[in-house]
Amino acid sequence: MEDVVRTIRISKVYSSGEQRVEALKEVSLSVERGDFLSIMGASGSGKSTFMNIIGCLDLPTSGDYWIEGENVRGMSKNALAEIRNRKIGFVFQGFNLLSRTSALENVELPLIYGRVPAVKRRAKAIAALEMVGLADRSQHYSNQMSGGQQQRVAIARALVGEPSIILADEPTGNLDTATSSEIMAIFQKLNRQGITIVMVTHEPDIAAFSKRNVVFRDGRILSDVQLPDPTETGRSRGNL
């Protein structure tokens, strides 16, 4: 099966003046279609840098990154924006919805930038909201919603463009445990439908919902293990 994400010895070096920080050191990692990968690591371990690169928000200093077989090396900012729009769905810790904007319009946003015609856009956005169980809240403003609802809107927004991969950066970081497990249940449901997910988290309990766990340390991959079947982890949700 084709890899959705494939990095070969990617490095990222930040240099400011005399200082030169190597945030990522020759990391090679592949994520298959349909995988659910969790990434852990202390702050400064390079996991955020890695996420930024595979999210096409940033380019590696060296090495190659293929997303669905497309090498991003030397791509312009606009080309990267287009890849983000078509192939990547972001879910952030702070939800990052537009305030004073309805849930529906928030979900429509990627399609607007993808130049999808209005009628089709609306239908897809409603479908995405249905998938996260918020079809009845489509007209609510994001700032009138609870954290869990906001994160579900954010997931709908990530989904709506039918991306190749969903990148979630500590999606439960701002949520209580009960809401966190609801959100994780949604991710698992989506993953069962074949959506590839890469998720950064601090918490082992959250990572346990994934199929595969990668730990970063000092800009390198420390461990990369397959986890037990997530459906079983799902059953143990009560322990969370």
Partner: protein, 408 residues
């Protein structure tokens, strides 16, 4: 569609900060209002001047008798009775650049109709005079060449005279007495308004030239005229006409090169042209001063847009993360700035027009609101929006999405 979307986003952004949007707009509103009102006031002034020029008639030369020295006493210009009816006829016949030469005698007289009387100016003219002045008879008929040659006692009256003597009565065919001489009113002149000097041009009675010379203002020089009005064939012929008149009259009056001329040729349109130019310069100056406030308003827009970009850094980051390209972000902020200035421009336009009307009403100052000025002002406000919105929009578009997302 893109633009429509940007427009919706911009409207939402402006509405979410109503007070700030309004205050920002205020700079543009005042700027545009000032430009429109000032230009309206300035053009009003130059319109008056051009109307006055038109009321004199175009391409006019005025020939006045020169000054004379009598027993060591120098008399003022116009005092010497040196111009004659024959001079006028000669100019008309011999000067190729001249269209018409209209000799005039002038005097003050009391005019009586029934039990009404009115003191006014009586001028003896030939039929050419009203052609030169571009002054139509609206009721009745003109003075004809045979009126002039036959010294017929007919007269034309101006609107002011008609109102004061006849009220609402039809003056045509009525007999009036000028200095006790009976005249038949044959025509009523169209309204002419004020002269450049502010006198009422409608307060006038015209009679045939010969009649005036022989029957009303008899002098010791029976053939002289007070002045001759000359109309050149075109604006280009004006200088040539002046030259020809000078040469011809010098010959006729036998004035050698070393002697003072006993007549003066004045170019009236030239004098008024200067007045017109200065009023145009004033209106330009007023507009220029007012546009400074527009620029200040534009800087206000830029300032607020920069604040807005900083404030919405995170929003920009979100939009970029989900696929907004540089030009999408750029367009969004540009549309917002242009919308701000255009709304300001339209409000300012309304305010400016109202202000100009107010000035008209209260200070009795004519204002001229031209469509051109309005279009320019609104177009200019849009341009201000683009110009001053460009830098903030570009700044937004060039943000790094990672840093923008991290911005608190």
């Amino acid at each position: 569609m893109e633009l429509l979307m940007s427009l919706r986003i911009a409207i939402r952004a402006l509405r979410s900060n109503k007070m700030r949007s309004f205050l920002t707009m205020l700079g543009i509103i005042i700027g545009i209002a000032a430009v429109i009102a000032m230009v309206a006031i300035g053009s009003g002034a130059s319109k008056i001047v051009s109307e006055q020029i038109a009321s004199i008639g175009s391409n006019i030369l005025l020939i006045l008798p020169g000054s004379t020295t009598s027993g060591g006493l120098r008399l003022p210009t116009g005092a010497a009775p040196t111009l004659t009816y024959d001079d006028a006829r000669a100019i008309q016949k011999e000067c190729s650049a001249v269209a018409y030469a209209a000799p005039v005698v002038r005097g003050a007289a009391q005019i009586i109709y029934g039990n009404m009387n009115w003191s006014t100016v009586v001028m003896g003219i030939t039929p050419e005079y009203l052609l030169v002045r571009n002054w139509p008879v609206i009721h009745g008929r003109h003075i004809t060449p045979s009126d002039v040659e036959g010294s017929v006692k007919n007269c034309l009256i101006g609107q002011t005279v008609a109102t004061n003597l006849f009220g609402s009565e039809d003056p045509i065919g009525k007999i009036v007495r000028i200095k006790k001489v009976p005249f038949t009113v044959v025509g009523l002149l169209d309204q002419k308004g004020q002269s450049p000097q502010g006198t009422d041009q409608d307060d006038i009675v015209y009679i045939p030239l010969r009649t005036a010379q022989r029957k009303l203002f008899g002098t010791q020089f029976p053939n002289t005229v007070g002045s001759i009005m000359v109309q050149a064939k075109s604006e280009q012929d004006l200088d040539r006409a002046e030259e020809q008149v000078n040469v011809l009259l010098s010959q006729r009056h036998r004035i050698g090169p070393s002697r003072d001329q006993d007549f003066t040729v004045r170019n009236l349109s030239e004098i008024l042209g200067v007045a017109e130019q200065s009023s145009k310069a004033m209106s330009f100056l007023l507009g220029a001063v007012a546009s400074i406030s527009l620029i200040v308003g534009g800087i206000g827009i830029m300032n607020i847009m920069l604040v807005s970009v900083t404030e919405r850094t995170r929003e920009i980051g979100i939009r970029m993360a989900i696929g907004a390209k540089e030009r999408d972000i750029m367009l969004q902020f540009l549309v917002e700035a242009v919308l701000l200035t255009l709304i300001g421009g339209i409000l300012g336009m309304a305010l400016g027009v109202a202000g100009a009307k107010l000035v008209s009403a209260f200070f009795n100052w004519p204002t001229l609101i031209s469509a051109k000025a309005i279009l320019m002002a609104v177009g200019f406000s849009g341009a201000v929006g683009i110009f001053f919105g460009f830098y903030p929009a570009r700044k937004a578009a060039l943000l790094n999405p990672i840093e923008a997302l991290r911005y608190e």
